[in-house]
């Protein structure tokens, strides 16, 4: 490994790792045999997590007709799947509050795009044969964590990176790799590994721009598609613009039509203020 890459990788430790309790919840949620009581057993002792979860459960995004004020109620009214998502949301936001200078994203922008992309990925996953929608949700949420570490290096070398993109036909990710020796997706995979995410999640995060190279190709394709939809809507787009490659064959393989693409955009556009509410509650 080149010295510069070693320096970048060493900075992974400056991130705040996902709390243990969220890791446990993710493991439990991957097991189809697990029950609500197993889930609440893990969460209930973490007061901060429970408080965050209730705040998010009461946001306009879910449109519940009554206020939820216990973990048990949240599980009853929202269902176990959504509660797991909320645990992951509550546990992940901390690393995203800063502005990402290299990508020209103001504070909170990367979080907004990560949450949006996770919500879209979950909806898409439910329409496919994917069983483990939690892995897709979490991978979509965490996929750009590499940007948090890489931002400073992208800022330092922005002119070189931008030249490759604007004059030499590179995608932004390819230009990161070309100039810095590592790109944000690859780095994201390393971070997921350090945080002891499952092999599936590491694979999806690492290949979210190159889903056809993933072992879990369908899951990676869903996360890729959610990311492309966010870019199209201008969500989380900064100095990198929309300079990422369109993988037509991936979408064809998924049977995702042009109309489907527009319908997801219209559906998300309609609930965007509710999504904002959820983002502000997490």
């Amino acid at each position: 490994m080149k010295k510069d890459i070693r320096e970048i990788v060493a900075r992974i430790d400056t991130l705040k790792p996902i709390p243990q309790v969220a890791n446990k919840v993710m493991v439990v949620s991957e097991n189809p045999q697990s029950s609500m009581s197993m889930l609440s057993e893990i969460i209930q002792y973490d007061q901060a997590l429970t408080a965050n979860l209730l705040k998010a459960a009461n946001s306009a995004y879910f449109g519940l007709s009554r206020k939820v004020d216990s973990l048990h109620q949240a599980i009853v009214y929202l269902g176990m799947d959504k509660v797991v998502d909320l645990v992951v949301l509550g546990a992940s936001s901390e690393n995203y509050s800063q502005a990402q200078e290299g990508y020209d994203l103001a504070g909170g922008e990367l979080w907004r795009s990560s949450v949006s992309s996770a919500l879209i990925a979950r909806d898409l996953a439910e329409k496919t044969e994917i069983d483990d929608t939690h892995a897709v949700f979490t991978a979509a949420l965490v996929k750009d964590i590499g940007k948090v570490v890489l931002s400073q290096y992208v800022a330092e070398s922005f002119e070189k990176i931008n030249l490759l993109v604007s004059k030499h036909g590179f995608s932004f990710r390819e230009a990161e790799k070309g100039v810095l020796g590592i790109d944000h997706a690859e780095l994201g995979g390393m971070i997921a590994e350090r945080w002891r995410f499952s092999g599936k999640m590491i694979d999806i995060i690492q290949h979210h721009h190159l889903p056809m190279e993933a072992r879990f190709e369908t899951e990676a394709a869903v996360v890729y598609l959610a990311d492309t939809l966010c870019m199209t809507m201008g969500i989380g787009v900064g100095s990198d613009g929309l300079a990422y490659r369109f993988q037509k064959n991936v979408l064809e393989k998924m049977g995702f039509s042009d109309r489907d693409f527009q319908e997801v955009i219209a559906g998300f556009g309609e609930q965007i203020s509710h999504v904002e509410d959820l983002i502000n509650a997490t």
């Binding site: 613009g241 037509k248 979408l251």
Partner: protein, 170 residues
Amino acid sequence: MGPLQENGTDTVKITVGVADMKVSNDPEAILVTYSLGSCIGIAVYDPAVQVAGILHFMLPDSSLDPVKAKSRPYMFADTGIPPLFKEAYKLGAKKQRMRIIVAGGAQVLDQQGFFNIGKRNHMAVRKIFWKNRAMVSHEDVGGNVNRTVKLAVKDGSCRLKVSGRGELLV
């Protein structure tokens, strides 16, 4: 203080969200729409009456979902553009005096004609403007860059922030 200074005490920032439209004749106001992606922002300004408006639409054609188009007309080009002009006319603006700026409509690389919402959004604008004989004064459309539009009501000065190119006055 420059005409577009946002943090001055006498300016009011009016944010135009996604699938949203705002028109104003408050001389202290600056209209802003952020991060257009493949969406298109249309900024209009009539200097004679100091009326400014911005529409930020997402998709070219409301036939996709007529029900949504009813509740969220600013989501689509064909249902969003007419009210932008109508609201400006209500405040005294006239089409023949209006400056019209079109920005956005970017797309990801290698789309080769598939799903290229950005391009289709742009085509929809051209078609509607051609039918209604509206002349576009400035266009910054396409490519794979991201754009933000700011329009000052006081003097109609319009700043475009384009990823990788910085901010320019148009």
